[in-house]
Symmetry: C2
């Protein structure tokens, strides 16, 4: 029997090292995705990987994604030595990638932005604004990070609920701000959302919050930080206009995306969208 | 000489394994950041890491960030076995993290969103819209990914330049769309930008583009895809309103951020900002 024959043992194909292709699924861009879910000997892994590459090359495959769960950390060093590069990581796995063709890589870049929300809750009965105290004696609007898979409007509602216990309804994104190198090399997008309260009893819940209260709009606006900081000043100005119904932000509308008809939310100037075209 | 004395050899302090703290800098949240820049023996690394932890624990340190460049891939497995978890990765390095206190981790989440732009270039002389052909016979607006550290408006200008060679000026974000699981678990933010051309000679540059041309607005809007896809329909409607000056998006304004006075850009309804408060 030559080295390249596959022996049959009791009717089961017994692959020899170097004759087995790693389990993979194809992606829609001519690449393959390998997820190593079971403990694997590094030597067996390397031999199988090399054999797999001979197959993938001959099939004209492009990008090879290699997902190594934390439990398969012993395969990280062999994978890098075989030419893989890091692509991204989450607490429980590391994703590596290898670009086969001679042509320039079209491997998409890693996620580049953190997204945060700040929630302005205006109580129209009392013309008051919701304010927060965090440690330093400064009243601030509730803010927080938007999780992966979380809608911006939902994050704003969640943050207000977490920090103060009140329920709100999303009205508009009043403005947003982009800054860079906010978190290592990552950029930051901060969405300032306007919410309407649907319950009014404040229950401070977040440990990071020292106190929470309804606060007259003019009091929160007259804090020294509002005058010092450009962004605070603009938010105050927008809120003043908003209370007089003289400012329109972007409200939300369910939509489907360009390419894959995925469901999402579009944020746009709905008031102007209702204009007749003259 | 006891095991714990540090011997001097030719005036150079010679640290013994288990008596040296890894080189680190402190972060502003009570944590430390270690970057392993030089080749290190894994056994020495583990011993030094353990000794470092005794120091950091006694100093009340919280998060320990461990930056392992690709060349130090041999330290990934030992670090994970010592209890580190992946935080994020870029092609050339892997960042791991360890949370020392008993209390809940306040380690910030990894970047969660990819950001993309779509550029609508309206040529007001001819009431025409800029359109693109990509393979499939569909005319599309130029789109592309916003790089880390790149401003949204700059990305829109760059994409139009790359795909068509024309120069543009940023006017407004007309709307934006958020979708989920667009790229593995990451979410996607797509900003639809309106640009004004400042040069008009089209030079197709991007290899992915089959053709580029100025296209009458109504022709691009009458493509079947515009009618089929919700997002295309909305963009078309906004552009129609825009040509009649009946829609206001968010324009840009340099600003400084809330907490660290970092320079950034705020996108807001500038037209309404110029309203007098009644």
């Amino acid at each position: 029997m030559s080295d390249h024959e596959t022996p049959m043992v009791n009717g089961v194909v017994e692959h020899k090292i170097g004759e087995e292709v790693l389990p993979f699924v194809e992606d829609e861009y001519g690449g393959v995705i390998v997820e190593m879910t079971t403990p694997t000997d590094p030597k067996f892994f390397v031999a199988t990987l090399r054999y797999s590459f001979t197959q993938w090359r001959s099939q004209g495959k492009k990008g090879v994604w290699l997902n190594l769960p934390l439990s398969q950390v012993n395969l990280v060093e062999p994978a890098v030595k075989e030419g893989f590069r890091y692509h991204h990581a989450e607490p429980t796995y590391l994703m590596l990638v290898y670009w086969i063709p001679e042509s320039e890589s079209t491997i998409p870049l890693n996620a580049s932005h953190r997204v945060r929300v700040g929630a302005v809750v205006l109580n129209h009965n009392k013309e008051e604004k919701y304010g927060m105290l965090r440690g330093s004696g400064v009243w601030k609007i509730p803010t927080g990070v938007v999780d992966e898979g979380e809608d911006i409007f939902a994050a704003a509602i969640r943050e207000v609920k977490e920090e103060t216990g009140i329920d709100t309804e999303f009205l508009e994104v009043l403005a947003f701000c982009q800054t860079h190198e906010s978190f290592f090399v990552k950029s930051d997008l901060f969405f300032i959302c306007l919410l309407r309260p649907t319950s009014f009893d404040i229950q401070k819940q977040d440990l990071e919050i020292e106190a929470a209260q309804w606060m007259p709009f003019e009091d929160s606006a007259s804090q020294p930080i509002t005058h010092k900081n450009e962004l605070f000043k603009v938010i105050h100005r927008i809120c003043s206009l908003k209370m007089e119904k003289n400012y329109t932000g972007f409200s939300k509308k369910p939509t489907t995306t360009f390419f894959d008809d995925k469901l999402g939310y579009l944020y746009l100037n709905k008031q102007d969208m209702n204009n007749p075209i003259t």
